[in-house]
Symmetry: C2
Subunit: 406 residues, 2 copies
């Protein structure tokens, strides 16, 4: 009798070489020995994906997205076959599948496809006869039988979607860190591993710069209430559970702090303060495929106002170009670009029901003479733009003030 | 209006790197420009297959054949995607497919599957809208949707089977030599490239050691009368046509000469000359998976006889082991192994209707004082076992005597 079903996802660093694949096989079969049914989702070996992208780039700078998916999906296919062999070697039954074989059907948006349905018959059949089922992450297939990929980090999505569809008891995401921390331990060594975090907090953390899990997969986990366990493939210690509600959450104001140094602040000066101007600007940016993050527009006293917003540093040049395209129409003044910024954010579901969290953050920064250039808030986060070189200090003092090392 | 349909197959050396893939793209689009419909079959890039085998061997010495197929089929998938990109780059439409996507259905014999049917709808649809269709060679899929491979050289089979199924006007096999030669040019520099050769002759040449094309694919081409053009991917010169009948074939006695130095001669001495003894021996060898080539048993005068046969050198040790297993039952004498042999063969459909070809061969060898240790003949070939160090000389003198450099 099965003790339950576990979906385990191993990222590229967890299967970077033969020895690590063998370690994964040991871990997986350990769960089989304990009586669990196991479905394993694997990413491509180490740098395989980057090597394939490099190969394509030698041929063309604008590869067809369909052909890129054809190319990149081989990476995971190699991983699943090798892992199946390693599990066989340990004397256990296992069978590998591509996304297509296992029936992960997606829409036709090559390189960033969305899963539309998963046929679980084949997986259930194989689990029933006692096999470990190994599924290639990151990939699916259109109804027309074309191979698709789910975008960077897509293996997380494969795992979460399979866990949901198979009604798994747990979805384990194995990675090279041992959980989610209150902040980046490279910046603040006192950072504490969180035992639990809510989906919403994790989503804020993911979109605010923590790179542990793909944001879309957390959205799906939240939507279908799939419990996720983020943990290290190099140790047996518990990691962090991502769940719906954290016990005693009323007591916790702030769960984590993130720092993002990859944004640039764009300011359009002296924008005429009349209806439709902002719309024109941001519509043009959207149609150029540029995602805008924080947007701040102050109250105007002179019929002219400044609009500031942040974009990814890499998009800064394209942003300027896009604005210049509409500027003759709008009649704004100078466009300023500031890459010397960092965004510091505090995240926590507790702040919803507590006053004074924002004030405490601003006060703490002010006390250290850190000037706040922009502010934006959501239900469960507050972000400030500050000078880049002050980012590390800001993390440390906020980490202390909000008692995150306890 | 299409000028006709050509199936082109490019081997691993023809797509060993980005530059060569680009050359293949140029050749393919050249045919498109001339108005042909083109289906391209590609092998894995250069040494990819060997690298994947090496990776698997680091995990297990006895990999599951299903998982080997899963692993190895990625090699061709990489090739087809890259070639599609290279063709796009030249401004032409192209689309790549795995064996599974294109409907190459095989039996379940993993690593050496046989094609049972090919669904051509998708290919025809894509050809109709003007696309070059690129198919991953060497692979297929079982009715249960498991990936299979067709064995070494299987891409030739993919090409020939597609050419047959699509009723192609020609099937071109691109390789790193510029055609089939009357003998190995490294042994006899006067060797002549043949303009034409029959399927039967090519089959003899292939099984007798010429390694240009996979034997099974020639059998299929013969069965369905698919004309094959073997030519170089590095030049535009015509290669060799493999066809049903060669013009003026009555005039040509011998088409080619092959030399095989990879066999060992096994002699079982003093075998009791009674019914069923030979059967016991060769049944045991068959069940050990050893293929036996030439077999010679002399007339017996003493109720004991010697049986000699040849096997691949690599199978010699296993052969001895197998014979020893049945020998107590049979009561034969010593078992001798001679690896110092070469098999020299002359091949040609013309010899069927001409007397004296064998005599001329034996005379020629005798004149050079080359002793013949074993002889075996077929409708269109005569093979002799001689001392290994005399192989080269034998090739040269026979090549001259049968006028093959003209």
């Amino acid at each position: 009798m099965s003790k339950g079903l576990i979906v385990q996802k191993f990222g590229g660093s967890s299967v970077a070489n033969v020895e690590r694949i063998q370690n994964v096989a040991k871990r997986v079969t350990g769960y089989r020995k304990k009586g669990f049914d196991v479905v394993v989702v694997v990413s491509a070996l180490g740098d395989t994906t980057d090597e394939l992208i490099e190969l394509a780039s030698q041929i063309t700078t604008e590869p067809s997205e369909r052909e890129m998916d054809m190319l990149l999906s081989t990476g995971e296919q190699i991983s699943v076959a090798l892992l199946a062999m390693a599990i066989h070697k340990l004397g256990f039954e296992a069978i590998s599948f591509t996304g297509s074989q296992v029936g992960i059907v997606t829409d036709k948006s090559h390189t960033k496809a969305r899963i539309v349905k998963i046929a679980t018959d084949r997986i259930k059949k194989e689990l029933k006869v006692g096999r470990v089922v190994i599924v290639a992450g990151f990939q699916g297939v259109t109804p027309d039988d074309d191979i698709t990929t789910l975008g960077r980090g897509g293996s997380d999505l494969t795992a979460v979607a399979l866990a949901k569809e198979l009604k798994a008891d747990e979805c384990e995401i194995y990675t090279d860190v041992d959980g989610i921390y209150s902040t980046d331990p490279r910046i603040e060594p006192k950072a504490k591993k969180l035992a639990q975090i809510t989906y919403d907090e994790m989503l804020e953390m993911a979109s605010l710069g923590a790179q542990v899990m793909q944001a879309r997969s957390i959205e799906v986990a939240k939507k279908f209430d799939v419990p996720i366990h983020v943990r290290s493939s190099f140790s047996d210690k518990d990691g962090t559970m991502i769940i719906k509600e954290v016990k005693n959450m009323e007591d916790v104001l702030v769960t984590g702090i993130t720092l993002n140094k990859n944004e640039a602040k764009i300011t359009i000066c002296e924008v005429p303060d009349k209806p439709g101007v902002a719309a024109k600007i941001f519509k043009e940016l959207a149609s150029s495929g540029i995602s805008v993050d924080m947007i701040v527009q102050n109250v105007s006293h002179t019929r002219k106002t400044d609009i500031s917003f942040t974009v990814n540093k890499n998009d800064a040049a394209r942003t300027i170009k896009a604005i210049k395209k509409v500027n003759s129409d709008i009649g704004a003044g100078d466009i300023l670009v500031d890459e010397d910024i960092a965004r510091i954010s505090i995240v926590g579901v507790g702040m919803k029901s507590h006053h004074g969290v924002a004030a405490k953050m601003f006060e703490t920064l002010a006390h250290e003479k850190i000037n706040i250039e922009m502010i934006s808030t959501s239900d469960i986060s507050i972000s400030c733009i500050i000078k880049k070189n002050l980012g590390g200090t800001a993390v440390k003092i906020l980490h202390e003030k909000f008692n995150l090392s306890k």
